[in-house]
Symmetry: C2
């Protein structure tokens, strides 16, 4: 699957948006005013004018820049900086969250990364407000925190299954916006990504999990019960994105039927946000020449 | 620095130990009976008969095998398995611990990895026995835990500076052995690595940190005070390795003046231990055909 050409023929015009093409993934993928999830093709490649081979080539060039920017962010924090990045990944089952963790987050320096996978809340977590466990997992200074699912489950699965009364979940959109505004205010850049796949693509990916014994462990019969609520989930995503794509913490919706595109897009989203932060190497807080002399006198 | 050829000319004879060369890194690097740290050259390349270019080529072949074995270990735990791996990295300042984290640990799937960097203990940690914070950081089932420094600091820096009375630190070797035996008993494979550099190489690496503004943040004037205790640290390492290289949790001493070799060696150590574990994909705990039918009937 995902083998058909994107139809683009003009090659690897990644950086300079040619014609009406937006110049950055950040611009191309941001869910703005009047966003309509149903109108976005899961096979589209916004912000990128090329096919799979072009995409893989474009990925190669990103590692070194990402690596230096991440190290600068980390170094900045060692010099007293408090900035950090939080990457939130949401998406239906099989939308490729695990692949993003493995291939995109896996390309970052693991010393400055903390992944938190949010499952159904534990008994302990249920005793607290829904944002409690989220707050506890926010990235420290200089780090890139990554959420594999997030507080958005509290307005997605919780809404679809009415796990709490509507009067309760309906207030959460505002609570989330207030919470995220404070997180941003404290120095954390929040990058929220929805991996957007089609129902057909999910069917194919679930079939593959069932066909391959080395994928059985990823499958759970409950996955089909959730699949049966496809339309409800799409609606819940639409509402969450509509209500919570704010100026300070917008949503980015990444078409994800093509895995190579989703990985390229998320990598670039992180890269562009790091570039905007423009972290700097901290000044030495010691006398460099004095230390050089001390060292030179040692055996 | 570290540019001189290893003197080896026979090429990439990595897999089949030619002649008296040991067949695995595990065998070549294990600190056994009568181990003498001072007698091991930090520029040696035990278990590998080749130069830097050969080493980099050999690394390329390891990623896929590592990746599959790690995923199997993780999958096994989802099927109820309790096995895990703990990689302990120790070494003098500038010995390359950060590079191992970045380049070796960074090549693993981050979803199954947890790095813990042990700094000087916090006030809270000081209230507990020295192994308390270590126990709290042990890997969960299916994970690869990585310690950047470890409980060995409690018989290294603590011994060199007498941070606790000798009567106390001298008992810790036995306490460590007892602790590690229990960790192994519970299903965790412990791989303890000392990165062994020469004093000259440390001097060159510290000089580089002082010469380059983008490395100043890694430097601390206290590093030279520690360097002045070089011989004491070497002795403390010798004793720790002698006393704590046990059958169930041996030490591996990796010559580390050549960064490419150290990374190749640690990668292979982890790989060989995963191969020995031979983790298996778990059996499906559902009726595969029934699920395939259910899926095929869905829109």
């Amino acid at each position: 699957m995902a083998k058909k050409s994107s139809g683009a023929t003009s090659g690897k015009g990644k950086d300079k948006g040619s014609g009406e093409e937006p110049a950055t993934f950040t611009q191309a993928l941001r869910a703005g005013e009047g966003f309509d999830l149903a109108a976005l093709s899961p096979r589209a490649t916004p912000g990128f004018d090329g096919d799979k081979a072009d995409g893989e080539k474009a990925m190669e060039g990103l590692g070194d820049r990402l690596s230096e920017l991440q190290e600068r962010l980390y170094a900045e924090s060692r010099g007293g900086g408090s900035r950090s990045v939080l990457l939130v990944i949401q998406g239906m089952d099989t939308s490729g969250k695990g692949g993003i963790m493995r291939h995109v987050v896996g390309s970052f320096d693991p010393q400055g990364v903390a992944i938190t996978a949010f499952k159904a809340p534990s008994d302990e977590e249920k005793k607290h407000p829904f944002l409690w466990r989220i707050r506890n997992a926010l990235p420290g200074p200089g780090d890139i925190g990554v959420f594999d699912r997030s507080h958005y489950e509290d307005v997605l699965i919780v809404r679809v299954h009415d796990l709490v009364p509507q009067s309760q979940w309906s207030r959460r959109y505002t609570q989330i916006n207030d919470f995220e505004a404070k997180v941003v205010e404290s120095g954390t850049t929040v990058v929220k990504v929805m991996l957007h796949i089609s129902s057909d693509e999910q069917k194919a990916r679930l079939a593959e999990r069932l066909d391959r014994p080395d994928k059985h462990w990823k499958y759970n019969p409950g996955d089909l019960d959730e699949r049966a609520r496809w339309a409800d989930y799409q609606e819940a995503y639409q509402v969450a994105i509509e209500k919570c794509s704010t100026d300070v913490a917008p949503w980015f919706v990444v078409p994800a039927d093509r895995k190579w595109y989703a990985r390229l897009a998320v990598t670039n989203l992180v890269l562009e946000h790091l570039e905007a932060l423009d972290p700097q190497w901290p000044e030495a807080d010691f006398d460099v020449e004095a230390e050089q002399r001390r060292l030179s006198l040692m055996p």
